[in-house]
Amino acid sequence: MSILFAVLFYAATIVLVAGLGLKVAQYVRVPAPLKIPTTPAPLTQGGAAFRVAREVVIFESLFKSNKWLWAMAVMFHFGLVLVLIRHVRYFIEPVPMVITLMQPFGIYGGLLMIAGLFMLLGRRLVLPRIRYITGPSDLLMLVLLIGIGGSGALMVNFVHTDIIGVKAFFLGLMTFNWQKLPADPLLYVHLALVAALMLVFPFSKLLHVPGIFFSPTRNQADDARERRHLAPWAAKYEANKTMP
């Protein structure tokens, strides 16, 4: 089982990094030939970067749209961030003070995340227009995340796993000094689901994570009259232009 999980996590990491890398490379390579910021938009590139940052951190547009949905999204994403911060201690030794201090918040974060996910799932099943746009993969994604959160929360709160052993396993993976993974069915479930999430990440709607940084309606400055913007492929039309 240890070998299986070791192979799985190496594979998942490679797929995640390479898959995301290829996607980001595509977004970088393909030009945005026209200025299409959704206006009113910041007039400077710095302002546009701040606009993207607001989308990433406080979900500004979603807040404009729907306060309930925003609250659910915040519960899930902020909860997830707290959980991820908490998990840092399983991957580094010694554990920085700030990570240690964050541990209890990570536990609340986990509960917040699971609650948010259940609300998002309920919304998909109950609201007719949202049910219409929901596909099988949208439900599976929520179920997957609930599975990860649920199995994790169970291990933290009820069926404790040998966390020292888990940490040794992952530190071993990272230093190529392989260690045994504690034999614990709940842990297996948790890790298998995490690996699944890593594997589907670059091929699914989770691409909204890199996507938001490349969204031209958000990351472009409104300076079309001041600066000429020309895509490389559009340069061919320059040749037949009348000159004064």
């Binding site: 026209l34 299409i36 009113p40 989308e55 547009s61 227009r129 219409y132 969204s215």
Partner: protein, 496 residues
């Protein structure tokens, strides 16, 4: 009056329950051979249209970053679902922006993503069938590319970009839309959207000059092809004869006259509109935009000013520098191009043009922010100037002004229902139903605040409202041009 049900105007907006297929029957007339070919598109659906469509999709994915980013990033959160006026007015779920995008996204997933190739239905991947192509045609011509959805999308996904790409693909496989493509053809063959020949235009303008002189005692001129004029005015051809557009044109003429700034129209560019944006064709956008460059060079003008037109201003403000620039041969003290509202407002603020608001005392105004101006462009030198400057201009011309509900103006403005290449009689049912959210907000200020008129700075909005207001029991004359108000209030003659 109509063979369809006119939507109810509610006190408090209601999001309809999805009614699948509610607008499946609304199909604007497809382009015939003679509309397709002048634009460089095949005259009819090509034999290998499926292969060709996928090929063009692949090409566009490599040219427009917005496409892969928007197609990959959507999480189906539904934030946009209740933001489209066509969904709100018709209830057809395929008019929810996310569902409209999914018509495109499903083919993208099938052909351009590993997950779609492998898992198909499970991840919403679908083959480009004839049935799906028909849905594309119908529903990508039920999007006015107003960008309201993009305001509310947490990733900024703009359905307009998707519908432009879809129309480009359909054009390239021979399934264009008659309305847009016929109009672009007229721009190429006659010079403007309306197919108004130069002779007719000159006659109209002469008649206009006579009428105004009779009315005001002032010789306001509407010059064409005057070499060495300071300003080239490019305005939608509807301004030359449609109501209330022409009252706006009269306003521009009076402002130029009173400010003592020489100006001219160009017989080469008698049209500000650029319908190539609606069909997502960069190449045709370049071609149409270059007429303006050519006219400016030929006439030796120093500035370019655009008249009241929504999408034309988006193309002008956001794209003209890209498509037909650089403009370094024009006077560098002014932005290129300028909007007539920026131009007039500036003159009024400096006291170069003076107004007497009492001329508009019989009206209480509200302002309809046109989508392409509000969400796709700017005026002035500050963020949001496109929302502020027209209002300043109205308030300078008219004592009584009331804004509609804040969720229906500014960046959240509702489309008139006729933008994006849908202002055609064969889509009248869609136009009427799509106007419902705007009509609802208008009715509210009419009842609560005594609003009598709604001003707009878009030729399409003006034409659309003139047509749909009566369906909702309101007067078509309620819709006015912003420069019509300026025209009423302007003090002609000595500025002392």
């Amino acid at each position: 009056m109509a063979d369809f049900e006119i939507p109810v105007l509610n006190e408090i907006p209601v999001v309809p329950a999805p009614k699948p297929g509610a607008t499946a029957h609304l199909k604007s007339f497809p382009a015939a051979k003679q509309h397709q070919e002048p634009l460089g598109y095949p005259g009819e659906l090509v034999d290998n249209w499926q292969t060709k469509a996928i090929e063009v999709m692949g090409e566009l994915l490599g040219k427009y970053r917005s496409l892969p980013v928007f197609l990959d990033s959507c999480v189906k959160c539904g934030s946009c679902a209740d933001k489209c006026h066509y969904f709100l007015g018709t209830g057809d779920p395929k008019n929810m922006p996310v569902a409209r995008q999914d018509l495109f996204r499903s083919v993208y997933r099938k052909h351009f993503t590993p997950a779609g190739k492998l898992l198909g239905d499970l991840v919403g991947a679908r083959e480009m069938t004839r049935e799906l192509l028909d849905d594309w045609y119908n529903y990508f011509h039920q999007c006015s590319q107003c960008r309201r959805c993009s305001v509310f999308c947490p990733y900024g996904i703009d359905t307009a970009e998707i519908s432009m790409a879809a129309r480009e693909i359909m054009d390239r496989i021979g399934l264009g839309q008659k309305y847009c493509n016929e109009i672009i053809g007229k721009v190429y063959s006659v010079g403007n959207n309306l197919g108004l020949p130069l002779k007719a235009l000159n006659n109209t303008l002469e008649g206009l000059e006579e009428d105004i002189e009779e009315d005001t005692g002032h010789a306001i001129k509407f010059p064409v092809d005057v070499h060495g004029a300071e300003v080239l005015l490019v305005t939608p051809s509807a301004d030359f004869f449609a109501e209330p557009h022409i009252d706006g044109l009269i306003g521009y003429g009076k402002v130029f006259h009173q400010a003592g700034i020489s100006w001219t129209l160009s017989s080469k560019a008698t049209e500000a509109a650029n319908f190539a944006m609606f069909i997502g064709s960069y190449e045709n956008m370049v071609k149409i935009s270059r007429r303006i460059r050519d006219a400016a060079i030929e006439l030796g003008v120093k500035r370019i000013v655009f008249g009241e037109c929504g999408h034309a201003w988006r193309v002008a403000y956001s794209f003209l520098n890209t498509l037909a620039g650089p403009w370094d041969f024009l006077d560098p003290r002014y932005p290129v191009p300028q909007h007539i509202c920026e131009f007039s407002n500036d003159l009024i603020k400096r006291g170069a043009v003076r107004l007497d608001k009492s001329a508009n005392d019989h009206m209480t105004l509200t302002f309809h922010d046109s989508c392409n101006v509000a969400r796709g462009s700017r005026m002035g030198n500050f963020e949001g100037g496109q929302l502020v400057i027209p209002r300043e201009l109205i308030k300078a011309s008219c004592g009584k002004f009331v804004d509609m509900h804040p969720d229906t103006i500014g960046e959240k403005s509702f489309c008139c229902g006729g933008g994006g290449g849908l202002l055609t009689d064969d889509l009248m049912e869609l136009r009427v139903k799509g106007a419902q959210p705007r009509m609802e907000a208008l009715k509210q200020v009419v009842q609560n605040d005594g609003v009598t008129h709604m001003a707009s700075i878009c030729a399409i909005c003006k034409a659309q409202f003139t047509k749909v207001l009566p369906y909702y029991g309101m007067e078509m004359g309620m819709i006015v041009s912003v420069h019509q108000l300026v025209s009423n209030a302007i003090l002609l003659g000595s500025n002392d």
